[in-house]
């Protein structure tokens, strides 16, 4: 992280610290915990046509941001066969919880690269997570009054 970046919100900083405190094998285990924790979205909570597919990901993952409140709520859905993608989505769902729209908009797209997962996961697999952030931010900016 260069000094010119705005500071990460505390929630994301805490996740980052947790990952960086671990060795490679344990970082994967932590990602698995996040994957297991991705909350099920109750049926009907998000209208079928409101889900947006994250095409940057190798697995079918969908996101939706409810921007009707001051603190946007991020929903994500990904299959059990795609635990890495679920883990990335879960990090964002948990890390963005309680943040304001402005705070989410300020999260840098290279946040995924700051978790120390390149060696454990490979850079190629990290790209999808940036796609999720980009799409979440785009949904928020689309929803905000011009």
């Amino acid at each position: 992280m260069s000094d010119s970046n705005p500071p990460l919100p505390q929630s994301l900083r805490a996740i980052q610290d947790d990952f960086l405190a671990l060795g490679n094998a344990d970082r994967l285990q932590l990602l698995l915990e996040f994957s297991d924790e991705l909350p099920e979205v109750p049926e009907g909570m998000v209208p079928e046509d409101a889900w947006e597919r994250v095409t940057e990901c190798q697995s079918p993952v969908f996101i939706h941001v409810d921007s009707t409140k001051n603190e946007p709520v991020v929903y994500a859905s990904a299959p059990a066969e795609a635990p890495t993608t679920r883990g990335f989505a879960s990090i964002l769902v948990q890390g963005f919880q309680g943040l304001t729209a402005e705070e989410i908009m300020a999260v840098p797209l290279d946040f995924p690269q700051s978790l120390g997962l390149e060696e454990a996961v490979s850079l190629l697999r990290l790209r999808g997570m940036a796609g999720m952030i980009w799409r979440i931010q785009r949904q928020i900016s689309d929803a905000s009054p011009a």
């Binding site: 698995l32 940057e56 066969e81 635990p83 996961v121």
Partner: protein, 299 residues
């Protein structure tokens, strides 16, 4: 000592039935002395969510590649990896994985570069094992360290480089990617991330035979008759000439390489692992767009 072959595979009349085992066979032989089961997936965490009891994970991205150069491990690195995974040179290795065994076939191909004597694929892979309700565990096995010998990697027989492809024109070349990738409509798999090829299209003269033509719905391989129809009748591969297969980074084409070499018994099949991510970005190599294979440059 290698384990016995799977008699149920022999009924398929494949050229090398000793390279394939059924889920029934594996279930029956789990825990046998001299057997190591390896899981190799596209998703690096999938093994950790549950795997065949006793299986060890080998990840293509993070473990089979050199960390710096775009190349595979060398002999010392491979020996160290095998030793850490508890694999001995005379062990029977059975590899399985997600996505109809793409990455498992890729791992098997890399094991073959080091001429591991007995390496087999699980027919149907991870999905079939799960569909049949067979046991999975999250318990990570701690392998006993072995003393795998240093064997130099031999690329010559199984691996093609860009220069080999340029000299190969006029002989069979198989593009196993999706039609959209072949025509140049897109440079990566539908719904897959962009992996950096600067041009879309295919290598001149390459026939389009998407990898899935070799697989049944349940991920097992098609019968020899069906494979002959696809590769010999339709694509003209009869074993009289050397063949090169390619895809995007070499994973789906390893699946096709396995089919041609081990199931159909065609000798001299090489996998071009540089594949489209190299060819589609290389300067001044010829490219064809559209559905037609196109003509070889200079022919």
């Amino acid at each position: 000592m290698p384990l016995p072959t799977d008699p149920s595979i022999a009924t398929h009349n494949y050229a090398h039935p000793e390279r394939l085992v059924s889920t029934e066979w594996l279930a029956e032989h789990l825990g046998s002395e001299g057997l190591v089961v390896v899981e190799s997936n596209e998703d690096v965490l999938l093994y950790d969510t549950g795997h065949i009891p006793g299986a060890v994970k080998v990840d293509w991205h993070t473990e089979l590649n050199d960390p710096v150069v775009r190349d595979y491990l060398n002999g010392e690195q491979f020996a160290a990896l095998m030793s850490a995974k508890g694999i001995s040179r005379d062990d029977t290795v059975v590899i399985y994985g997600d996505k109809s065994n793409w990455w498992a076939a890729y791992a098997l191909w890399v094991f073959s570069l080091f001429s591991h004597p007995d390496v087999r694929l699980l027919n149907g892979g991870r999905d079939k094992w799960i569909a049949e309700g067979r046991e999975l565990t999250r318990e990570v096995s701690t392998p006993h360290k072995t003393d795998y010998p240093v064997v130099e990697r031999n690329d010559g027989d199984l691996r093609a480089f860009k220069e080999d492809v340029l000299e190969h024109f006029g002989r069979p070349l198989i593009d196993v990617r999706s039609q959209e990738e072949y025509t140049g409509e897109r440079t990566h798999m539908p719904a897959y991330p962009e992996e950096g090829a600067l041009r879309g299209g295919h290598i001149p003269t390459a026939h389009s035979v998407p990898w899935a033509k070799a697989a049944n719905e349940d991920g097992t391989f098609k019968s020899l008759e069906e494979l002959r129809e696809v590769y010999t009748e339709q694509a003209g591969i009869d074993g009289s000439e050397p063949v090169i297969t390619y895809c995007r980074i070499g994973e789906r084409s390893s699946h096709t390489w396995f089919v041609l070499q081990h199931l159909m018994g065609i000798d001299n099949v090489k996998n071009y692992d540089g594949s489209w991510t190299e060819w589609g970005s290389a300067v001044r190599v010829p490219i064809v767009k559209g559905l037609e294979p196109g003509v070889a440059p200079g022919h």
